[in-house]
Amino acid sequence: MNAKGGCLSLLPIRETLAAAVGRGVSWMQGLGSWGDASAIVLSCPGPWRRHESAVVPVARASLTQVLLGSESQMLAFVAAAQAMEGRLFHTPVPEIFAGEGNLVAACRAAGLRDAGGSGVVHLRFGGVRAARVIKGARNAAVIAEAASAAPLTASHHPFASGTILPETMQLVFTYGQQTVGPRGTLGREIPVRPLPPAFQTADLASVAAGGTGKGGREALDIVTLGEFQADLWAAGKIRSSAGDARLRRAGKGAPAAVLVPWNLDHPGSIVPALLERLVRLRDGQEDGPEIILLPFNYFGPTGIIRSLVVRLRDAASDPERTLAQTFLARVTQLAGMPKLRQLSRVAWVDGNDPEAWWTLQRLAAVGVRGILIDPGGGSGGVARLPADEPLWVEADTRCGALTFAARMPSPRRLPDLLDMTAAQARVAEPDVAAPAASRAARPARRGRVRAG
């Protein structure tokens, strides 16, 4: 039932999808048949103030991190769904629409030529806890989270478990076999449909094939933790002389660096604890690579990054130096990928993160070698460091106080991590292109998503 009490049958969609897959027809054609829809509106969590209207053509969406997280999941979908161009829109604020009426009006204002058809489809990307719907639209969630990140503690919050979606979510698309979809809403189960693997990196194919090249400086934001200002980060107005200097030194005698993806939407992340441990153990010495954090799933100024700054300041023997040598970076346009690769071709990936597999896929597709900090049970081709120390992460979140069981490398394992990092950096060739599967995917248009 939708918000107005009307039934929206999913049967034609399911049948069409099944038929398309069964016939070996492009899955895209199947997906296209959602669409008797006049518009397909995509959303994901993010700082809304970067946008100048509530609905924009998806190519004009102002995003913060296009390589990882929910924004990248949306862009990968867009690259794979270009047949629908003209009907694809982005809204940063699906919550504000009271129904299809003002949504269609907003789409028209954003350039929708023909508002005929039978209504609007809304696809929501990102974590289950942050799932939102557009009332009056047909809503589906597109999820790349594995189910392993549920908190241990109960909460009164309806969505704290990370397994419950809003009631009017009618369908769940999942990225990849690793993804285990949520069980349903508070009252019922939701059908789950996997997306083809080619979707996962469809937007990266051209970037990966392009090698390092000379990417746009404006497409990669980099600042030191000491310079971080939440309002500027949210607004996308990053100017950092230290960041510029670090980029100029990349590959020219600068200290070795490692990229550390950090899922800000996973309260059980070990990244803050890992960095604090490193800072304490280093005690001002320069053992091991420079840390370049890649925060993703950034909702806006929530205090999470500032909390890390405070934590490291408290832990460091020379706080100013530590904060000046630890960087935050984000790829706001795919044109920034070559610059990122110049900084480092090795990344530490938190295996406790429900999006770890997605992160590894994406990094591999652009020629960055991931080292999985593995909480256990994993196998496969990726380099792994077993995380041998149990860690209870207690987080005060907008879903209440949640506790997560995680594992991180103990102090005695950290030298192994540093050795592996050095070894991976040696192995990484400067012009590694993407895996064949990614190259085969339809090329994305470059530079169409701008920074705010």
């Binding site: 809304w48 209207s53 509530a54 939102r132 909460s155 009164h156 309806p158 969505f159 009017t168 009252g187």
Partner: protein, 398 residues
């Protein structure tokens, strides 16, 4: 329908529902916890409006006030409703002078059937034969980053338990009801939409008319509301930064108490000279009398809110005869109808266009527009709110 006729019709309807309640040998219990707020805005205003309307048609005993597990003296609450603030009520409760004994929950059957109304979060559940609570918006669930964490926790800890323990779920707008249905699967048949009302003391309009000197007064635009991120006041700053000429034709008055989070510090550097020059004014929280004067004297009000459960400032503006330039978000169009000029709440240029349109309309239609605003607002009364809720509750009585 004129203001007087609408109010009379709503009062008659409320009296009928009150009579039905009494005929069923039922008594009403109203939770007064929101009234303890010293400065009434938002939910306390709703609680007060509802309480006043009910107190006018139900005698003590048929209408009871309570806080947690205790009854609160009728006269103490009535005094607070007259004063329109919670200061004295707080004092009387703290001193133990307003205590009227325990809630009569344990005495089965005595005093007939009991009906509980909770204007917001329930502090006691399943204490009455029939009970309902009012959901003002789901912003703490769907937009938690606009709130302080403490507030989110306060609402989320109670959300599902309140819904489950309610015989009737009251929302203040269809948009809020649709949120409950869309996110939590609340059965639509278990809900009722009871819009907020607006009422001003009789002397306010005369007072404002006597004070205002339209020929000599400098035109101004009023932005009314607590300064918090959800209210999106920063969009007005953005508009002024892009179109500073607006500050030459109008002063901008931002009235409302200081809220929370970064919005408090959001005035751009470029606009600080305008503050120093008195072109941008922040009077802070204003009492009802000053609020009415400001509303009645404004050329128009601006309401850029990103999300509302209702949008009371829009209604207050119209009730004072002042048109509103408002965002089209969530419930706001339900309140403003055709008397607002709407814009995209993320678009400063959209707001500027809507403001330009409204100022032109104001010039063209003059007093006719002001009268239309007042007539529209007259449809929203606390008597109607109370009658709508009471009608459904009486129907539910066993």
């Amino acid at each position: 329908m004129s203001v007087m006729l609408a109010a009379a019709a709503h009062t008659d309807a409320l009296k009928r529902e009150a009579a039905r309640l009494i005929a069923r040998d039922a008594s009403l219990y109203l939770d007064i916890s929101p009234l303890l707020d010293p400065q009434w805005t938002g939910i306390p205003v709703v609680a007060a409006g509802l309480g006043s309307a009910l107190a006018a048609v139900l005698p003590p005993g048929r209408l009871n006030f309570f806080l947690d597990h205790r009854l609160i003296a009728f006269e103490a609450v009535a005094d607070s409703l007259r004063r329109q603030n919670g200061l004295f009520l707080n004092r009387e409760i703290a001193a133990g002078r307003a205590d009227s004994g325990r809630l009569p929950v344990l005495a089965r059957g005595a005093g007939g059937k009991r009906v509980g109304i909770f204007p917001s979060v329930k502090r006691i559940r399943r204490a009455f034969d029939i009970e309902c609570s009012i959901f003002h918006d789901l912003s703490t669930l769907v937009l938690p980053y606009f709130h302080m964490k403490l507030n989110v926790d306060h609402h989320m800890e109670a959300l599902l338990a309140d819904i489950a323990s309610n015989d009737l779920v009251v929302t203040v707008s269809a948009a809020s009801r649709d949120d409950l249905v869309a996110y939590l699967g609340v059965e639509p048949g278990k809900t009722v939409v009871a819009a907020n009302g607006v009422v001003w003391p009789q002397g306010f309009a005369v007072d404002a008319a006597n004070l205002l000197a339209p020929e000599g007064a400098e035109p101004y635009l009023l932005i009314l509301g607590t300064r918090e991120p959800r209210k999106n006041v920063i969009l007005v700053f953005d508009m002024l930064a892009r179109a500073p000429a607006l500050l030459e034709s109008h002063r901008f008055v931002f009235a409302g108490k200081m809220g929370w989070l970064a919005e408090q510090h959001a005035l751009p550097e470029s606009l600080k000279p305008a503050v120093a020059a008195g072109r941008i004014v922040f009077p802070g929280f204003v009492g009802d009398r000053v609020k009415y004067r400001l509303l009645a004297g404004a050329e128009a009000t601006l309401y850029p809110s990103l999300f509302e459960g209702f949008g009371l400032p829009v209604l207050e503006s119209l009730s004072a005869g002042t048109p509103c330039v408002a965002s089209w978000s969530s419930s706001i169009p339900e309140v403003g109808g055709a008397l607002c000029s709407y814009f995209d709440p993320l678009s400063a240029t959209g707001m500027q266009r809507a403001l330009r349109d409204m100022l032109a309309r104001r010039r063209d239609e003059g007093e006719k527009l002001r009268a239309a605003c007042r007539d529209h607002a007259a449809r929203f009364t606390w008597q109607d709110t109370a009658a709508t809720i009471l009608a459904r509750l009486v129907d539910l009585l066993p």
